[in-house]
């Protein structure tokens, strides 16, 4: 399983809620319809106010992001139970969200869908990194490194949920482990 993810980070602050991740007006899109899944990616994090986040996760008219790694502060993904939130990020091409802490349902939805790895940082990476900085996340080693500076930050182990995301979500995991018929 892939353990190392490398690329530029997109940095947000505390309390990024599901309305900012995917504004409610786009919840008319059904994630299990393939073209609507693609479209959700175009809107990932578009609810962030431009005044605070002039650089957008996904460029105008694009479906995918240049930032495979999102860095957040406390309580990332708070708010609604909409699975559209981790799906929008995953559809845009985000592989890992590194946050100081996660809201419960968002964390669970990341794992159940297998869209992305929700990794808790030790400390506030969102204060240390700027959008565009290239970093390398190594899930096995539990570390984030910044090649430019040589800085290294610890992340907490994903534990049991790692295997579920590796498998591609709850159902794939259940089949691979014999909990459900293949």
């Amino acid at each position: 399983m892939q353990s190392v993810f490398r690329g530029p980070v997109y940095v947000v602050r505390d309390n990024i809620d599901t309305d900012q991740i995917i504004p409610a007006q786009y919840l008319n899109l059904v994630p299990t319809i393939p073209e609507e899944y693609e479209k959700l990616g175009a809107y990932a994090l578009c609810g962030l106010p431009e005044s605070l986040y002039p650089v957008r996760l996904v460029g105008e008219g694009q479906l995918d992001t240049e930032y495979p790694l999102v860095v957040g502060g406390r309580n990332f993904g708070c708010g609604s139970s909409r699975e559209h939130a981790p799906i929008a990020l995953g559809s845009a091409g985000v592989k890992v969200v590194l946050a100081e802490s996660f809201a419960r349902i968002f964390f669970r939805n990341c794992v159940a869908t297998g869209e992305l790895y929700p990794c808790e940082c030790v400390g506030r990476l969102c204060d240390e990194l700027r959008t565009g900085e290239v970093v390398s996340v190594d899930l096995d080693a539990g570390a984030v490194t910044v090649p430019r500076t040589g800085q290294r930050y610890a992340i907490k182990p994903l534990g049991d949920v790692r295997a579920v995301v590796d498998a591609g979500g709850l159902f794939n995991y259940a089949r691979q482990t014999g909990m459900m018929p293949r």
Binding site: N15, D17, D19, Q20, P23, A24, Q25, L27, N28, L29, V30, P31, T32, I33, G47, L48, P49, S51, R74, N75, C78, G79, S80, S81, R82, E83, H84, S101, A103, R104, I105, R108, N109, A112, T113, G169, L170, F171
Partner: protein, 457 residues
């Protein structure tokens, strides 16, 4: 064990469970709606097969309520997807917008936003409709594809919001793997003063513990003050457990719970048997707070999150553009009654929108009379734009043509439950959460005020 531990132990078929343990629990009811239902159905069919049947056609409850009164074609289509699935599965409880089981739902903009456009089965906002339609019972486990599913904790049940994938799993198996949450205990003592409402209790608590203060935890409410709280009040409090990050909120069972649940299950012909969970003297909790209800004052959660607590009387310099009353949290009959007490014989000074949560509430407001005047007419005479199209409406923004949606960077005081940036529409708008009384008084003043300064005559 705590109430939550007892409920989950029973649902897991175990004598005992402890916080932190992962257990497989049996669902009693799975609820979904038009925003997450089509995706849940998509997951169910993808994983279990196109011909698969839901685990129990009497226990999957489908309530379209979010994006109903909009001309957005995808939103209309999503209601049609639900109808098609219900027909294919033979699902018993589907509260369709239209009466024709073979029809298609299309909202007609030309008729305007205020006049009723739903049929006889439509039930309105899922969390308010579930108890009204007899689907909440003490001692049960309710999963819903909506974070405010925790509202049903008012009825002494374990109720929590889940995503589409988990819901698809429940739809196929009737089970879900859950981590037993730790419990935080809130003792509510005494009685609220006039002008102070249940909403103020929960805004106070969220301000106290922070809006991630209950992440992964259960909020359990106890104390002598609970006897003074109506079923509606308890629903308001339990509804916002999620606004502190909570997994669920739960109340003890009492005669009021029994009376409500028994009346509703009988009226609707739903399952009438239930077994409540009782308080245990030796429960282990991770936090305790006593709230003296008599000392609470009208409270506001300021932009941009539900934890930004201030007293209404401290915010007099916040000028407002609009006021809004509605949603699961703040759109119940009792909310509108209190709202109307403040507005009777007066007139709002800013744009004010009223969206009852359910058609039943619309009916109650249109048939209740104060001194010969219908409550509904009293509100309209006070300048409130009242719509008969009960639903979630602008509480969560929704499609751009949604009634009451903020399509400009406005400031709104609202009886709803969430105020993150962009929640009610425009991402530079600001939402201040408050009780119906505080919303009413502020709508009169055009700025945030303590409703006790505007006591009804």
């Amino acid at each position: 064990m705590t109430l939550t531990e007892k409920l989950l132990a029973r649902a897991a078929g175990k004598a005992e469970v402890r916080a932190g343990e992962n257990v497989w629990v049996k669902a009693d009811v799975l609820m979904t709606h038009d925003v997450c239902g089509p995706g849940t159905i998509g997951v169910f069919q993808r994983e279990f097969g196109a011909q698969a049947k839901v685990w129990d056609k009497d226990r999957v409850v489908i309530i379209p309520d979010h994006y109903i009164f909009t001309a957005d074609s995808k939103s209309n289509r999503n209601v049609d997807i639900l109808r098609e699935f219900v027909r294919q599965q033979g699902i018993t409880y589907f509260y369709d917008v239209i009466d024709d089981p073979n029809g298609m739902w299309r909202f007609d903009l030309a008729q305007g936003a205020l006049k009723r456009q739903y049929g006889s089965q439509y039930a309105g906002v899922c969390h308010t409709a579930l108890p009204q339609k007899g689907h909440t019972r003490p001692g049960e486990v309710l999963f819903g594809t909506d974070s405010h599913t925790c509202m049903a904790g008012a009825f002494n049940e374990f109720a929590t919001g889940i995503g589409n994938t988990d819901a698809g799993f429940v739809m196929g198996t009737g089970r879900l793997l859950l981590k037993v949450p730790e419990t935080m205990l809130f003792r509510l003592e005494g009685k609220l003063q006039p002008g102070v409402m249940a909403k103020d209790i929960i805004l106070h608590i969220i301000g106290e513990i922070g809006f991630d203060g209950a992440t992964y935890r259960a909020l359990q409410f106890e104390g002598s003050g609970i006897a003074t709280l109506s079923v509606d009040d308890r629903m308001t409090v339990a509804n916002m457990a999620i606004e502190a990050g909570g997994k669920n909120g739960i109340f003890p069972f009492d005669a009021r719970t029994a009376e409500y649940v028994e009346a509703r299950t009988r009226l609707n012909g739903t399952r009438q048997s239930y077994e409540p969970v009782e308080l245990d003297p030796d429960q282990k909790v991770v936090y305790e707070l006593t709230v003296d209800l008599a000392r609470l004052e009208p409270t506001v959660a300021c932009h941009p999150d539900p934890g930004q607590r201030k007293l209404a009387k401290e915010l007099g310099d916040v000028q407002l553009d609009r006021a809004y009353i509605g949603s699961c949290t703040g759109g119940k009959t009792s909310d509108f009654v209190e709202f109307a007490r403040w507005l009777r014989g007066r007139r709002v000074s800013i744009d004010t929108f009223g969206v009852p949560a359910t058609p039943e509430i619309v009916h109650e407001l249109q048939t209740t009379r104060w001194g010969g005047e219908r409550l509904w007419d009293l509100l309209v005479a006070a300048g409130v734009q009242m719509t008969e199209n009960a639903g979630c409406a602008a509480c969560l923004g929704g499609p751009v043509d949604t009634f009451g949606r903020m399509n400009a960077p406005l400031k709104c005081i609202s009886a709803t439950n969430r105020n993150f940036p962009g929640r009610m529409g425009h991402k530079d708008s600001q939402v201040f959460l408050a009780s119906p009384a505080t919303v009413a008084a502020s709508a009169l003043a055009g700025r945030i005020v303590d409703p006790r300064e505007y006591l009804p005559s």
